[in-house]
């Protein structure tokens, strides 16, 4: 516990300093609350509307988690197909790249138009944005097994399935987690982006993205800050969940986990 406090004391000091400067600036320059609310005002908004925040948090968490989990299943499946042959990889990889390069804000309205303005559509937006990092990293892990290990399995007359399940897949787990770390954070971005457009269809029920547009239109800037804060808490939560599972799976054998042990 003491070590934990020691490790966070510098970031904590920066945090306190920035808050103090912010609060000081708001008071000194008499900045209106609808342009930049003071930290105190944001804290008051959090306290006052914690039930709305919690509700919005819960809705967005479900949407982001749904999209994220589907992207894990989908991404690993696609990577397993990609690992089968360089021809498959070369023919299809450029198209998965589209997932990464097309701006999600441009296709989110289309998705909501096509699939309706419900939770499922928002999940789909989160799913699309999460998919590419998982596909790319898992594929890389599956195909980058050292040659000697492949030869070892060949010498044992291992079947393709055996090689995939006992060599390539476990070898790809660290790379998979790199993808999961990236996707965990952006799943929340995906869900919120989806909600922004869902709300315009007048159905969007209370998620963080919906509430952000609402707070913005009402100039409730202190509440808007509280929502943004809640959204980043959600992103952090997902990220640390992934880091925990990564530690859980890898700490026995993986080098990166060993370094964390040594610290």
């Amino acid at each position: 516990m003491k070590r934990f406090f020691q490790s966070i004391r510098w970031p904590l000091a920066v945090f306190v300093l920035v808050l103090a400067a912010w609060q000081g600036a708001c008071l000194t320059f008499k900045i209106p609350g609808y342009i930049l609310p003071a930290p105190g005002a944001v804290a008051a908004a959090v306290a006052e509307r914690h039930q709305n925040l919690l509700q919005a948090f819960r809705i967005t968490a479900v949407e982001a988690a749904g999209g994220f989990l589907c992207s894990i299943v989908g991404g690993i499946s696609v990577a397993l197909v990609f690992a089968q042959s360089p021809v498959i990889r070369r023919s299809l990889y450029p198209y998965t790249l589209v997932l990464q390069t097309v701006p999600i804000v441009a296709i989110a309205p289309l998705i909501l138009m096509w699939f309706g303005s419900g939770v499922r559509s928002v999940m789909l937006v989160a799913f699309i944005i999460c998919l590419f990092p998982i596909i790319a990293n898992t594929t890389q892990g599956l195909v980058s097994v050292p040659r000697n290990l492949m030869d070892l399995f060949k010498m044992s007359n291992a079947s393709r399935v055996q090689t995939l399940l006992r060599l390539q897949l476990p070898h790809a787990v660290p790379a998979l987690f790199v993808g999961l770390r990236i996707s965990s954070g952006i799943s929340v971005i995906g869900a919120i982006t989806g909600e922004l457009f869902a709300s315009s269809n007048a159905v969007g029920e209370g998620g963080l993205g919906y509430s952000i547009t609402y707070a913005n239109s009402q100039l409730q800037t202190d509440y808007l800050f509280a929502l943004v804060l809640t959204a980043s808490v959600l992103g952090f939560l997902f990220f640390f969940l992934v880091v925990f599972f990564e530690w859980w799976f890898l700490h026995h054998w993986h080098e990166s986990a060993m370094k964390a042990d040594a610290e």
Partner: protein
């Protein structure tokens, strides 16, 4: 001290391992091995030694069937290399352990992929081999917790677990310090007393080759050819003390001279 030990071969029967006019060319046309003939008796310990680029590692890959021949034939106990994998084990230059498996799990791997043993048999045989290489206290450790020498011993135990008739070793001790290497050399001899496998051993160390082998094949480079075939035998048992015996030193001298002659020629 002349003919290599040949009790296992009856007159007239084909040798255990036979290479006829084996040639390997890379796709760019350069010749790695040129017209190599070699007969090996059962139980022989053959060291392949020569300058880099002489194709000694390539020869192991051809024997294992990991790499195809350009021309010529290889017969291993009556089989083509591709079909002989069940009686062969390959020990690589690095230990090639699966980092997510414990020592025990790694030693079990070969048996597991073969599907010819039950889980209990596997565990039993793996444990016996782990005992044999002196790793019983670390059987449940993961590779990252082991030293280089220990990892290599796991690799040896894994190779021997399937009871191979032929063992192919590609400079397995090259990356280890001299003390560990000497110790593992003695261990290999001890394991060989237990289980009479036929061995091809690639090395750069003349002393190691003399200590372990019944025959030393000296190769030249560009193109790879066999230039000397030196039988090695000692009257007494091979123990650590052999390393300072005059017989041993004389043999090392002979092989070194042969190797030097090759190097100056190419």
């Amino acid at each position: 001290m002349n003919a290599p030990s040949s009790p296992a071969t009856l007159p007239g029967s084909p040798p255990f391992i036979q290479l006829d006019a084996v040639t390997k060319r890379w796709p760019n046309g350069s010749v790695v091995l040129d017209d190599v003939d070699l007969s090996v008796n059962k139980g022989d310990f053959i060291s392949l030694i020569g300058p880099s680029g002489c194709g000694k590692s390539t020869l192991l890959r051809l024997l294992s069937g990991l790499s195809p021949l350009t021309s010529g034939t290889i017969t291993l106990d009556g089989m083509q290399p591709d079909n002989a994998r069940e009686i062969m084990s390959f020990i690589f230059q690095d230990a090639t352990l699966l980092p997510w498996r414990t020592v025990l799990g790694n030693v079990e791997l070969g048996l597991e992929l073969e599907h010819r043993t039950t889980a209990t048999q596997r565990r039993e045989r793996a444990n016996r081999l782990i005992d044999l290489v002196g790793l019983a206290p670390v059987a449940s450790h993961y590779p990252r917790q082991l030293s280089g020498g220990m990892k290599m011993r796991v690799s040896i135990a894994r190779a021997l677990a399937i009871r191979p008739k032929i063992l192919l070793m590609d400079e397995p001790f090259g990356a280890l310090d001299e003390m560990t290497r000497d110790f593992l050399n003695e261990e290999v001899l001890r394991l060989r007393d237990n289980d009479q496998f036929t061995t091809f051993f690639v090395t750069h160390s003349v002393a190691e080759a003399v200590f372990l082998s019944t025959r030393i094949i000296v190769l030249q480079a560009n193109p790879g050819r066999i230039v000397r075939d030196i039988p090695v035998s000692f009257p007494g048992p091979r123990t650590a003390a052999l390393r300072s015996a005059p017989d041993f030193l004389a043999q090392v001298g002979e092989v070194s001279a042969a190797l030097r002659a090759v190097k100056t020629r190419t």
